[in-house]
């Protein structure tokens, strides 16, 4: 193993080596390593190229805030771009690649962008590439897209599976550092149901990385003890590798659990989206360290001080061999102790403050580390990695080093606290924003609340979760200091000084934005793209804001903050979809006779959630031949069609008749028991809503059908009208669609077929069961219902049996001599009779438009009655329903075509209507259709051109009466 690995210590498992590749190079790490720590252990410091300037970039952080070390993980369809190497756990066989480099990471030709930087300055999108206009999409956009960018999407369907889960808790603890663990222990001790979500794979937070003590013991001992107690508690659920990404209304939290990302192969989901419902939550999300702004601060080898401590103490890696520490605060400066303890030479502590504490002085003295106060680093220098620094302030000259640990202080992770609109507030003591108004039920604790010292973290964590905070355990923590003097930018820095590393925003970009008047926070953000990368400015926002404040002579609170929105870290779209994709995108409803139809060669189509049989082709038949045969069978013999999908609603009660009179536009209460009536209903605004049949089974019992598409909407409408308008009506409404299988049996021989299915005690003769009558009967051996209604215009019966007998009934109908037909033939048959369906009941048609105006009852009140009489709905030039046929017998018609008067120009002014439905009529031997046409009532015999600009078709048509077949209806009654 590499010389950079420290011989012992850390939280890696040296007995479990892990092999992986980076840009094709075979490397080795250990279980417990992140990709970042394993790369550093192998001496790999250059890991990516920056977004705009293609500058060499290394590893800046040791956590999810990483802006530089973004890599592509895995291969083929599973390739995931823009993954932060600092949170990716390595596993055997992991394939990782660097991004945004051409042709190779070390020799990136596009780093010439760095020399072109004047055109890539703030607002370059708005200033460059303006002319000529025709070049925007063809030349500039592809150029910019290739030159600037991050990883590549695989472009293939995601091969992984995702899961969703909901959990309930009394308290959700967000973060498993010292504050979070103290909170979880406190809530657990009180018996609360606790969920603790920690984004890392290990609990402990900063305690994993900093050499601290609690109650006189190493802090990790306390962490292990806390974890053991929480794991043993039946009321606690620990979710590691789980990032809470958003706080939503009503105590609802979203979390992303990386279930399988760290495994070479996984049977389970890759990630899981948690919806956690908890009335209380503790925000213990810690803090993120700020970089300092000076020239070349993005060079590989320049790292945040806290990250340096993580790599040394947690991962047992030396991130360099000769280090300099540059910090404006005690916590960052104390990194000299960690470096020295790891045997790394420390060339200097550079501190811009005039004085440093005695403790720091003593520490430096003990390790013989030179200290420069009132000093800065003006520039970090090197080719692709850090080689030296240029000193400034009270110091001067160059110092050689290959590691620079920098710290500009810590920003509490306030993101989640502002998801409900709460604005962070400025805290002078730690020179950072802390949470302001919190979402309901949420309390912040520890570093997230601005308490950067360990003892405070433990105490506030406990207090935030406990309902009785008097029982604070007596935990002493080793001394630490959060003293800081802000330094937002080294005043005389040399060269590009980065603020937002991921979007390549420098301090001079911010100065340019200020100079050009983009001084408001939201303008600054959009003009410079500060904070708009995938890291959402976790390491840059506050610094950028502070720089703008000083440029405009305002305080930071006066300058304001941008709004943080969910998700906190990038979320794979797959987790949002979860298992609901492809065929599982929504439920698929199959009728009870689906398998029966499938076995007989039926073809199916999606009709809303339902699968419906379109036709039943026989061997060698085309679809049209099959449909034509099915239509002729119904007209000449007997066919049957599965109409189970129609909505069925059972309405019972003493006021059922009166209630349905209110719901439907025509009269229902006068239907005699044992009879059926066609009925339609309006919406409150007066337009037609839905139609179907209403059967009265007894004085207090009605059974109605709705269209397939509107089944749920009609039920909701009836519930609404019952509960909100007619609550005194004694009526019970129940959907029974799923309870009944229903078939339409139609054709001149339908009665003969039906007679074979019913018992001798059921008389299906014309006298006993006339048109529009209904009867209960035993059908094919089971109790069912017969309705003599017709959609096809033939003598027809709809037969309903309990759903489980649907397939048996279909079989019995076939045995009795009827032939199955599908949705296509059903459509042709209804068109031949001019019956409107969904294409005509399109929500914009009135009863009069559809030729139903005469059925509007004048004897009762009903939904939509008043509004249906509005002048605009009664205008004579409204488009009304007409029949159409082509003037040339062989010509076809297309639904959607616009109707232009014959000879007139095809433009919008001459557009008089459109074709709503069209089909080839096997009965008539030519195409027929329905159309909505202005002045339709008096247009019979007139000719129009049906224009279809989409397919560049135009067909001469003639307006004809709507009922094409058997207009007298003689077939119905026979």
């Amino acid at each position: 193993m590499s010389y950079l690995r420290i011989a012992d210590g850390g939280m890696i498992d040296r007995s479990r080596p892990v092999a992986f590749t980076f840009d094709g190079q075979r490397l080795q790490g250990y279980a417990g390593d992140t990709l970042a720590s394993a790369l550093l252990a192998n001496g790999v410091r250059l890991v990516g190229r920056s977004f705009k300037y293609h500058r060499p970039r290394g590893i800046l952080t040791a956590g999810p805030e990483e802006p530089n070390a973004l890599v592509e993980l895995r291969e083929g369809a599973a390739r995931e771009p823009n993954t932060r190497a600092t949170v990716a756990e390595i596993f055997d066989g992991l394939v990782a690649r660097s991004q945004n480099r051409f042709p190779s990471l070390k020799y990136d030709l596009l780093s010439i962008n760095s020399l072109l930087s004047p055109i890539f300055a703030a607002g370059f999108y708005y200033k460059t590439f303006m002319w000529p206009r025709s070049f925007w999409e063809r030349v500039y956009e592809p150029l910019i897209r290739r030159a600037a960018g991050l990883g590549r999407a695989s472009g293939l369907p995601d091969p992984d599976s995702y899961d969703k889960q909901t959990a309930f808790a009394d308290v959700l603890i967000i973060g498993g550092g010292p504050a979070g663990l103290a909170a979880a222990l406190a809530a657990s001790a009180e018996g609360a149901r606790v969920i603790l979500a920690e984004q890392d794979f290990a609990l402990g937070g900063r305690l994993l990385s900093d050499r601290r003590t609690i109650a006189g013991e190493p802090a990790l001992t306390w962490v292990r003890d806390a974890e053991a107690r929480l794991r043993a508690a039946p009321n606690v659920k620990l979710l590691t590798r789980t990032t809470i990404t958003g706080i939503y209304d009503g105590g609802t939290y979203a979390g992303i659990e990386r279930v399988g990302d760290h495994l070479a192969t996984s049977q389970g989901p890759r990630q899981r989206l948690w919806r956690i419902v908890a009335p209380r939550a503790v925000l213990a999300t810690g803090a993120i360290e700020r970089p300092l702004v000076f020239g070349g601060n993005d060079l590989p080898g320049v790292m945040l001080a806290g990250a340096v401590r993580s790599y040394i103490n947690r991962f047992a890696v030396k991130p360099g061999t000769r280090a300099i520490v540059f910090a404006n605060n005690d916590d960052g400066a104390s990194t000299i102790g960690d470096l020295a303890a790891a045997g790394i030479e420390v060339a200097a502590l550079i501190d811009p403050r005039p004085e440093i504490s005695t403790a720091l002085r003593d520490l430096a003295l003990a390790h013989k580390i030179p200290v420069f106060t009132n000093a800065t680093i003006r520039q970090a220098k090197g080719g692709t990695v850090l080689k030296s620094v240029v000193l400034g302030g009270s110091a001067s000259g160059n110092l050689a080093c290959d590691l620079l640990a920098m710290s500009g202080g810590w920003n509490p992770v306030v993101h989640l606290a502002s998801h409900h609109g709460g604005k962070p507030v400025w805290n002078e003591r730690i020179a950072a924003f802390v949470p302001g108004a919190m979402p309901p039920g949420v309390k912040a604790a520890g570093a997230a609340a601005g308490f950067l010292q360990l003892a405070e973290a433990l105490a506030t964590g406990h207090a935030a979760a406990a309902t009785d905070s008097s029982k604070l355990p007596n935990l002493t923590a080793g001394e630490d200091s959060d003293a800081i003097t802000p330094l937002w930018k080294v005043p005389d820095s040399l060269g590009k000084s980065f603020v937002d590393f991921q979007n390549d925003v420098t301090s001079s970009d911010i100065a340019l934005a200020a100079q050009e008047g983009f001084t408001a926070v939201e303008h600054l953000k959009r003009y410079t793209t500060l904070g708009m990368a995938t890291d959402q400015g976790k390491t840059s926002n506050v610094t950028g804001l502070a720089l703008m404040a000083s440029l405009t002579n305002r305080t930071i609170p006066q300058t304001g903050t941008t709004v943080f929105r969910p998700p906190y870290t990038p979320v794979a779209i797959g987790t949002m979809a979860g298992p609901h994709r492809g065929q599982y995108y929504r439920p698929t409803r199959r009728t009870p006779a689906h398998a029966w139809a499938e076995a007989r060669g039926a073809q199916f189509i999606d009709a809303g959630e339902w699968l419906r049989a379109t036709h039943f082709p026989q061997p060698g038949e085309t679809m049209q031949q099959s449909v034509d045969r099915e239509v002729r069978t119904v007209r000449q013999a007997a066919g049957f069609c599965d109409v189970t999908t129609l909505g069925k609603i059972d309405v019972q009660g003493p006021d059922a008749g009166a209630f349905l009179d209110f719901i439907y536009a025509n009269m229902i209460s006068t239907i005699a028991p044992g009879r059926v009536r066609y009925a339609f209903m309006l919406r409150d605004d007066g337009f037609v809503f839905d139609d179907g049949t209403v059967a009265r089974r007894s004085p207090t019992h009605f059974l109605l059908t709705t269209t397939t598409a509107n089944a749920a909407r009609v039920l909701r409408h009836m519930d609404t009208m019952h509960r909100l308008c007619k609550p005194d009506f004694d009526v019970c409404i129940e959907p029974v669609t799923d309870q009944w299988a229903q078939f339409a049996l139609a054709g001149p021989q339908s009665r003969t077929v039906l007679a074979k299915l019913v018992g001798a005690d059921t008389d299906v003769s014309n006298a006993a069961l006339p048109f529009m009558a209904t009867v209960a009967a035993t059908i094919a051996g089971v109790p069912g219902r017969i309705f003599r209604i017709s959609f096809s215009g033939e003598m027809a019966f709809e037969i309903a049996v309990p759903a489980s007998h649907g397939a048996a009934l279909a079989d019995a109908l076939l045995q009795a001599g009827a032939v199955p037909y599908g949705l296509e033939a059903l459509n042709v048959l209804r068109l031949e009779k001019g019956h409107p369906v969904g294409a005509e009941l399109n929500g914009q048609t009135t009863a009069a438009d559809l030729g139903l105006g005469g059925m509007l009852s004048k004897k009762k009140d009903f939904v939509g009655r008043v509004m249906a009489q509005r002048p605009a709905l009664l205008e004579p030039n409204r488009q009304t329903l007409v029949g159409i046929k082509p003037r040339t017998p062989g010509a076809s018609l297309q639904a959607g075509s616009h109707l232009i008067p014959a000879g007139a120009e095809a433009n919008a002014a001459n557009d008089k209507g459109f074709i709503t439905s069209a089909a080839y009529s096997a009965t008539l031997g030519h195409w027929i259709g329905l159309a909505l046409l202005e002045g339709g009532a008096s247009a019979t015999g007139k000719t129009f051109t049906a224009v279809n600009p989409l397919q560049n078709l135009s067909t001469e048509i003639e307006i004809v009466p709507r009922v094409f077949h058997d207009p007298e209806g003689s077939a119905l009654h026979g």
Binding site: G250, G251, T252, V277, D685, R716, D719, T720, V866, Q869
Partner: protein, 81 residues
Amino acid sequence: MRLLCPFCGERGLEEFTYAGDAALVRPAPDAGQAEWVEYIYMRRNPAGVHGELWYHGVACRQFVKLERDTRTHAILSSSAV
């Protein structure tokens, strides 16, 4: 968002459908078109407390009346209709 159904208890938003402003009063059948137009089309859009109806369609099929603050989504009261 979580809504409190008086019949079923607290449930997720996805179980409910918004059913309109609870303050609307259905006009009398003979109220005339002007009043009906007001009822059908005109809506208040208050920044603050709003009385509203929700339909618990996938469960009890009852209507719930809520007082909700449109600025914060805080639900102040919940009752059966």
